[in-house]
């Protein structure tokens, strides 16, 4: 639809900041107590990327498997069941997240596990920073920004911190497949940044 290109970013935004925040509040209420699982997963991820830690192949695969399930869950429970009600692109986002989930699943099953956390040096520290950003800083920032802990965005349950933490893990991995794994998270981060810009500044 070529007419779409006549619209600015702010024109494409169809909901208010209040509605967006309330989306997370209602979602968290609906899925309680799954947040406990997310907190445990955050702890596992933090331990997995701790500097100097040597992971067993089993744990390395488990991290990717859990992340794959997270992306598939968000595709269905967040995008398809909830975000789609206020965002016309909700179904497209659901497909994107499902594809990423399947890619992570394939990586967890087929990839050599010793490569998944093998990167080192400065780039590994950048990867660790993204993981920490996703599992700790983003959830806390989401509460600080709204003043409402019920709207907290947790890794594995909501899109932004999950995409950010996934980018961190991808940076920590070795092999050419990592570039493919970074396409959807990077795309989502760009979409989310544009959404936040339009919601809170435009």
């Amino acid at each position: 639809m070529s007419e779409l290109f006549n619209f600015t970013l702010a024109d494409m935004l169809l909901f208010s900041a209040d509605t967006y925040v309330r989306l997370f509040e209602l979602y968290n209420t609906d899925i309680w107590p799954l947040q406990a699982v997310a907190v445990v997963f955050s702890g596992v991820l933090a331990a997995a990327v701790w500097p100097g830690r040597k992971l067993t192949p089993y744990i390395a695969r488990l991290c990717y498997l859990s992340l794959a399930i997270s992306w598939l869950w968000i595709a269905y429970a967040f995008h398809l069941q909830r975000y789609d009600a206020i965002n016309l692109a909700g179904k497209t986002f659901a497909v994107m997240f499902a594809v990423q989930g399947l890619l992570l699943l394939a990586t967890a099953i087929a990839n050599a596990p010793e490569k998944l956390f093998a990167n080192s040096g400065a780039s590994a520290n950048i990867g660790r920073f993204f993981v920490v950003l996703g599992i700790i800083i983003w959830p806390l920032a989401s509460v600080a920004a709204t003043g409402n802990w019920r709207s907290m965005q947790l890794v594995a349950l909501t899109p932004d911190p999950t995409a950010i933490a996934t980018l961190g893990l991808v940076i920590l991995a070795l092999g050419r497949g990592k570039y493919l794994l970074s396409v959807v998270p990077l795309t989502w981060v760009a979409i989310s940044a544009a959404t936040h810009w339009a919601l809170f500044t435009a």
Binding site: M1, E3, N6, A10, L14, S16, L26, R82
Partner: protein
């Protein structure tokens, strides 16, 4: 022996709150008589009188499945009708807005004053027809008063469909829409060469691009005009924040800024209706106050523009 229980203040308050709750649940706005809607405009193609302050639903009514927010929007609708409002405008492009309007209308018992306006926003004849059917279902009504082609998307195809629907009595009026100055040339061509009842465009005290061509053309072709973004997406309020109305505001028959901006819009002789959007009952009351009193004349309108441009 029964003990006589005096009516305590607490009990009285409980009873009063129960009455209020019943009133809030009533399908018919109990306060309909409180609105002293005096201003009306006329739809040129039919001569039908219409309230010049309607309401839009872009962003404000897209609250998804949030039951609390849906009920809050129903309260906004109740206030709208209770104060003389008629025209509600929506679009399939506005997410869940049509469904939320439908929820509110059902809760209010489908007020007979409703003038329902929505749009078709897709490509292809079959998809357009399917979308119009969906809109009926979402609004929970059998017939729209006005169907418009949103931002001219595939307008040749949809105009044919809408004209056929009008001829068959399935819709009362048809029209086209555009927003903030886009494709005015194409809009003018359609207005000049096709049979439409309404055109919707952006018009406000800060965006008066339509004055040069589209509004005179609408008068010439007897096409009703709906003004979207009468507050320039809130930009007008940001511009006048911490600023008092001018001393001569009574000349414009205005007591607050919303009234100032809305009366400017609907006082243009070509304008039929403005459709401000809000999610708050208090703001809706302020908007609907613009239906009271008189409209500024052309001299005062010039003064309003001159003053606004100094801000």
């Amino acid at each position: 022996m029964f003990e006589k229980s005096p009516l305590s203040r607490r009990r009285t308050l409980q009873m009063l709150s129960s009455v209020s709750a019943l009133a809030a649940m009533s399908p018919i706005p109990l306060s309909a008589a409180t609105g002293t809607a005096s201003l009306t405009k006329t739809i040129p193609s039919s001569g039908e009188a219409i309230s010049p302050i309607g309401m839009g639903t872009w962003i404000t009514f897209n609250v998804g499945n949030d039951a609390q927010a849906r009920n809050a929007r129903a309260d906004v609708l109740r206030t709208f009708f209770a104060n003389g409002g008629r025209v509600i405008d929506s679009s399939p492009m506005y997410g869940s807005s049509e469904a939320v309007v439908g929820h509110g209308l059902e809760k209010l018992g489908f007020p007979k004053e409703l003038f329902s306006a929505t749009k078709v926003w897709t490509s292809g004849k079959q998809d357009g027809q399917a979308q119009i059917k969906d809109s009926h279902d979402l609004w929970r009504i059998k017939k729209f008063d006005l169907l418009q082609i949103h931002n001219l998307v595939d307008w040749e195809t949809h105009l044919e469909t809408l004209q056929a629907m009008k001829a068959a009595g399935q819709v009362r009026y048809i029209g086209i829409t555009t927003s903030h100055g886009r494709r005015h040339g194409e809009v003018a061509d359609i207005m000049a060469n096709h049979d439409i009842d309404f055109v919707q465009l952006t018009y406000n005290i800060d965006d008066r691009a339509a004055e040069s061509r589209l509004l005179p053309l609408a008068q010439e072709r007897k096409i009703a005009v709906i003004a979207n973004r009468p507050f320039q997406r809130g930009g007008l309020f940001r511009r006048v924040s911490n600023t008092q109305l001018p001393d001569w505001a009574p000349e414009a028959h205005c007591t607050n800024w919303p009234e100032f901006f809305l009366k400017f819009v609907v006082s243009h002789p070509a304008l039929t209706c403005a459709i401000p959007a809000t999610s708050k009952v208090a703001h809706m009351k302020q908007n609907m106050a613009a239906l009271n009193g008189q409209l500024p004349n052309s001299e005062v309108r010039k003064k309003m523009v001159k003053h606004f441009e100094t801000l």
